[in-house]
Structure formats: structure tokens, C-alpha cells
């Protein structure tokens, strides 16, 4: 009986935990569908009396969200592509090619992880300004296109690929790029997916750099656009503001539910980067 009671208690605790974690998201999603009468009222309305989908087009018009979306999509896609390409090429070179002083170079690569983003803000802003890239896509993308941690993760993974497989390909006369593309990459798939998704989520959510490096509404990305909306709207219209927030959150949540395993793997390792 006591074990039964204990198990009931544990389940209750588990349910409470779930409510605490999902509650804010539930509040966000339901509020994005509430009409003003359901928002500015007390006690709170747990399920909107009538679903007001108009909050979404309203938010879309309140700030140039079409631009934000395009900007976020372009910078995330291009940035991820570049970062992952750098990670793959660097990892391959460090595992399969000889070079004098390779170990020192690898240590140099890893030391980039010790540089916190805030220390580079000022200098990178000035560099990007010198390049004439303020308020451009390349200004948002290029400073984040290098990969230290992704390269490290992929290298660790490539070291576990059995030597015989690569040697067999080489004996067949395959060159390095062919081996990379046909042998090593397919065998690194799980880690490649992890590195890609972590990069994707990081760039989609990136905030401070796009905030600094852009200065017109039409170049802002989604997270920065949220800040603009809040400042413009003065959070008078909670329904629309919550709808705009859903724009930002929903794609990442969708990716999260599909690729949860890879994200967990990547972020728990990626945490070293911080």
C-alpha cells in the first residue's frame, strides 16, 4: 500500500512538473488565439471562447514580419550551410590528411571556444563596418560562419570510423574529396545531423549579433523583430504580440519534436561551448 501511495505521489509530481514546463507555452499559444475580451479579464480564460485567428495577420502587419521571415530564413540557411561545410572540411583534414604541426593547429582551433561572444561584439562590429557590411546579409552571416565546436564533434566521430573502410576506398583509387563525399560523410551521418540541427537552431534564435549589425526594419531577423514589435506596440495588444511570438517559436518546436534525439545529443555536448 505504501509503495502504491509513493508511486501515486511520484506520478503526481511528474504531472506537476509537466504542467510547470508546458504551462507558459500553453499560455502563449492560447493567448495568441484570444480576442481582447478574453485577454483583458480576470480570472483568466483558460480556453479562448472563440478562436481569433486574426491576431496572426494583425501581428504580421504590425511589423514587417514578411521581411523578418525572409531574413531569418536566408541567414539561417546560408549560415548553417557555411558553418557545417567548414566543420566537415576541417574535421576531414584533421583526421585524414598529414600536416606538420597539426596538433598545435587543433589546439588553436579549440581555443576559439574560450572566446565568449560578448568579448567579440565591439571589434566585430567595427570589422564588419570597415568591410561595409553593416545592415547586409553577409554582415549577419559571415562572422558566424566558422566552426570550432562542430569541427571538433565531427572529428571525434570520424576517428571512430574503421580505418579499413577508408583504406579500401583509397586502394580503389578514390581521391580525398571522393572519399569524403562517398565514404566518410555517409558514415558520419548521425553526427552530421546533430551538428547541422544545433547550428540551425542557434542561428534561428541568434539575437544580439543581428540586433547590432542591422539598423533598418527590413533587415531585421525574427527574434530582433519581436523586440521591435514590443517597442512599437508598447505591449498594448497582447494577442497580436503572442501571435508574433508563435511565429518565432513554432518552427523550432517543430524541428525539436522531429529531431529531439539529435538536438539533445548536440546540445548536451555543445554545452561545452556555452
Amino acid at each position: 500500500m505504501t509503495t502504491r501511495l509513493r508511486r501515486f505521489g511520484l506520478h503526481l509530481l511528474l504531472a506537476l512538473l509537466g504542467v510547470l514546463m508546458v504551462g507558459p507555452l500553453y499560455w502563449l499559444f492560447t493567448s495568441s488565439l484570444k480576442q481582447s475580451a478574453d485577454i483583458y479579464t480576470f480570472p483568466p480564460v483558460w480556453w479562448p471562447g472563440s478562436l481569433r485567428w486574426d491576431n496572426y495577420p494583425e501581428a504580421w502587419r504590425a511589423a514587417p514580419f514578411a521581411d523578418f521571415f525572409v531574413n531569418s530564413a536566408v541567414t539561417t540557411a546560408a549560415g548553417t550551410l557555411l558553418e557545417v561545410t567548414n566543420a566537415v572540411l576541417t574535421a576531414y583534414a584533421f583526421v585524414y590528411l598529414r600536416f606538420p604541426g597539426k596538433r598545435v593547429l587543433f589546439a588553436v582551433l579549440l581555443s576559439a571556444l574560450m572566446v565568449p561572444g560578448h568579448v567579440t561584439l565591439l571589434a566585430n562590429y567595427l570589422t564588419v563596418a570597415d568591410l561595409g557590411w553593416i545592415n547586409t546579409y553577409q554582415g549577419i552571416i559571415i562572422p558566424g560562419a566558422a566552426s570550432a565546436f562542430g569541427a571538433f564533434l565531427l572529428r571525434q566521430h570520424m576517428l571512430t570510423i574503421p580505418t579499413e573502410i577508408v583504406e579500401a576506398a583509397r586502394a580503389d583509387g578514390a581521391g580525398h574529396l571522393r572519399i569524403l563525399y562517398r565514404v566518410v560523410l555517409p558514415l558520419s551521418r548521425p553526427m552530421l545531423i546533430t551538428v547541422t540541427i544545433v547550428s540551425l537552431v542557434g542561428k534561428w534564435n541568434d539575437f544580439i549579433w543581428p540586433l547590432i549589425v542591422t539598423n533598418t526594419d527590413t533587415m531585421r531577423t525574427l527574434p530582433v523583430g519581436l523586440l521591435m514589435l514590443k517597442q512599437a506596440d508598447g505591449y498594448v495588444n497582447w494577442g497580436a504580440v503572442m501571435a508574433a511570438t508563435v511565429f518565432v517559436v513554432l518552427p523550432v518546436l517543430a524541428v525539436f519534436f522531429v529531431a529531439q534525439r539529435h538536438i539533445v545529443a548536440g546540445l548536451t555536448q555543445g554545452a561545452v561551448k556555452g
Partner: protein, 352 residues
């Protein structure tokens, strides 16, 4: 729920160790495995080459140079970018911290250590450091304690734990700006969830974000909500990696669950705890987006932590000197934390 249990495969559960593994396989990797692999590969591509002839030697030499060139070509873009946007900024930032500059004037005035003296002897900076410390203790301590508690709960064989694990981790991947907005509404003293919860116990909701005593705790709550899942997942992986036999013998000795937890589980988890302490410190030092959306560092500087200070000085006040020196202080603190981590991990590797 076998399906949801399988969400985390075995290889994920070994994660907390990767930090230390890296140090080990680093030497093994680039030393023996790397060259060994290339060496055998060379023999494979040139079968029957007379090793002693000059032409053979020259061909091998050429091949080696080609390999060097390919290596350079593959890593050059990455190193170039890191050089320009990661290493150089540290040097340049260090220089900027010794100047007085409004980010516009053509000349930067060199002032030596004046900025640092100004920071430490007066004005708002000591307060910023205090706020940062308060914030760090709240977020790091809270995330670890609650993360461990959640991990222990999720480690029990309970129905629906896979689902709850997903729910717990989900906030971690969300944009801080979006999370900040959602919580802004929750904390609204008139129409937010906060009012509902406080009325349950018959109290008025505090005006969280406009009250300088409540704003920082409110920000800490949001970061906890965002971070607990991460700590819980890493702790959970650690828990699932613990050797079962120790527990069996402890059970034979008649040790109670609390005693087992304190005497066996906690000590065995200490590498995980250390790893999480360091990573949470690093990430909370860079906390920015939630603050930007919720409080702008206010009210009255109540939520101005170091990261906000650097941004505000540089990009609102256009004072490059104080911003850069603030950033150097942050860099120095994080460097110490990272070095501690490296030394700790090295020690662990040696003991193994």
C-alpha cells in the same frame, strides 16, 4: 512506454564524459591514428613502388606536399574566419579597453588603465558585478539543484516520463527573445498568470518587472525555466551511467535511499556536476536576449548584468572604452573558469 524511452539512445547517455574523452583522444587521434592512417593509405595508393629509387622518393615527396596543400585548402576558410572574427577581436578589444573613444571620432585617445580604474573605483560597475553575481548564483545554483531533482524523478520508472522529459527540455531550444515576450505577459500584474497564482493564496501580484527588487528574481525564474531541462537531461544521462553493482551491494548493506543518494550517487555524479557548473556559468554570463525583451537592464539598473552592461555602454552610450574593459573583465572571469575546467578534466584523465 518503451517507445518514448527509446528517444534517448545509449550513445547519448555517455555525454557528460565527452569533455574528458576529448583530452584523451586528442593525443591519440592526431598522433598515432592520424599519421598511421595516412601512412598505410600511402602504401595502398602506391603499390609496388620501388622505395629505394630516387623517382620513388620524389613521387612520395610530391604526394606529401600535395597532401599538405589539400589540408591547407580545406582548413583555410575556417581558420581565416576564426582569425578575423574570434581571435583578432580579443586583441582589438584589449586595445580598445585602453582607449577613450566614442566609436565615431577618427582618433582613439590612449588612456592606459584608466577605464579599469574607473570601473573598479566607482560609478555603477561594482553594482553591475554584484547584480551579475546574484544572477549567476540564482541561475547556476537553481538550475543545478532543480535539474538534479528533475533528473532523479525522470529516472524513476513512471508512466509518461518520456513525454515529460520532452516537455522539460523543449524550452531550452526556444529563442530567448520569444521566451521573454511570453513571460512578459505571464508576469503582467493585471492580466497575467502571475495575478491568478497570487490570488490563489489571497495576495496581489507584484509588478515584477517595474519593481527594482523583483525584476531580477523574475529574470532568474525565466532563465531557470529555460535551463532546468538542459541540466536535467545531462544529469539523467549521468544517472543512467552509474554502475549498478554498487547499488546492489549498498542495498545488501541495508543503506536507506537517502543515504545511498548522498554517499554513492552524489559523489559519482560530481564530474557531471562540475561540467554543468562550468557550462551554466558560461552560458549565463552571456545571458542577454531575455533581459533585452523584458527589462532593458532596468528598472534603474536592477537587471544590468555584465553582458547587458557591455552592450549598453558600447551600443547605446557609444563609449568603447568602458564597454571593452567590461568585456575584458568578463573574458578574464570566463578564462579562469575554463582553465579550472581544463585542469580538472586533465586530472581526471590522469587518474583513470
Amino acid at each position: 512506454m518503451p517507445a518514448s524511452e527509446a528517444v534517448l539512445p545509449a550513445d547519448d547517455t555517455a555525454l557528460p564524459r565527452t569533455g574528458s574523452d576529448s583530452a584523451e583522444s586528442d593525443s591519440a587521434g592526431s598522433g598515432s591514428a592520424g599519421t598511421g592512417r595516412a601512412g598505410t593509405g600511402r602504401a595502398g595508393t602506391a603499390p609496388g613502388n620501388p622505395r629505394t629509387t630516387r623517382t620513388g622518393r620524389r613521387a612520395r615527396h610530391r604526394r606529401r606536399l600535395r597532401e599538405y596543400a589539400l589540408f591547407l585548402a580545406l582548413v583555410a576558410p575556417n581558420f581565416l574566419l576564426l582569425g578575423v572574427f574570434s581571435y583578432w577581436p580579443v586583441v582589438y578589444n584589449a586595445y580598445l579597453s585602453l582607449t577613450e573613444w566614442d566609436m565615431i571620432a577618427p582618433v582613439k585617445r590612449f588612456v592606459g588603465l584608466d577605464n579599469y580604474v574607473d570601473l573598479l573605483t566607482g560609478g555603477e560597475f561594482p553594482g553591475v558585478l554584484r547584480t551579475t553575481a546574484y544572477f549567476m548564483v540564482g541561475v547556476v545554483g537553481g538550475s543545478l539543484l532543480l535539474g538534479l531533482a528533475v533528473a532523479v524523478l525522470l529516472n524513476q520508472r513512471l508512466r509518461g516520463r518520456g513525454l515529460v522529459r520532452t516537455m522539460v527540455f523543449a524550452p531550452h531550444v526556444l529563442s530567448g527573445a520569444a521566451v521573454g515576450l511570453a513571460w512578459l505577459f505571464i508576469f503582467d500584474p493585471n492580466y497575467g498568470l502571475s495575478r491568478f497564482l497570487f490570488e490563489l493564496v489571497g495576495a496581489d501580484s507584484p509588478a515584477w518587472l517595474t519593481d527594482s527588487d523583483r525584476a531580477l528574481p523574475a529574470i532568474i525564474v525565466v532563465y531557470l525555466w529555460k535551463n532546468i531541462g538542459f541540466c536535467a537531461i545531462v544529469y539523467l544521462a549521468g544517472l543512467q551511467n552509474l554502475p549498478k553493482d554498487l547499488y546492489e551491494s549498498a542495498a545488501l548493506d541495508g543503506a536507506g535511499p537517502w543515504r545511498v543518494f548522498r554517499r554513492i550517487t552524489l559523489p559519482l555524479l560530481s564530474p557531471v556536476t562540475f561540467f554543468l557548473t562550468v557550462t551554466t556559468i558560461i552560458s549565463s554570463f552571456q545571458a542577454f536576449d531575455v533581459i533585452a525583451v523584458m527589462t532593458d537592464g532596468g528598472p534603474g539598473g536592477a537587471t544590468t548584468i555584465l553582458s547587458w552592461y557591455v552592450y549598453d555602454k558600447g551600443f547605446s552610450d557609444f563609449q568603447a572604452g568602458p564597454a571593452a574593459s567590461g568585456a575584458m573583465v568578463m573574458f578574464a572571469i570566463l578564462l579562469v573558469v575554463t582553465l579550472l575546467q581544463t585542469r580538472y578534466l586533465e586530472r581526471k584523465v590522469h587518474y583513470r
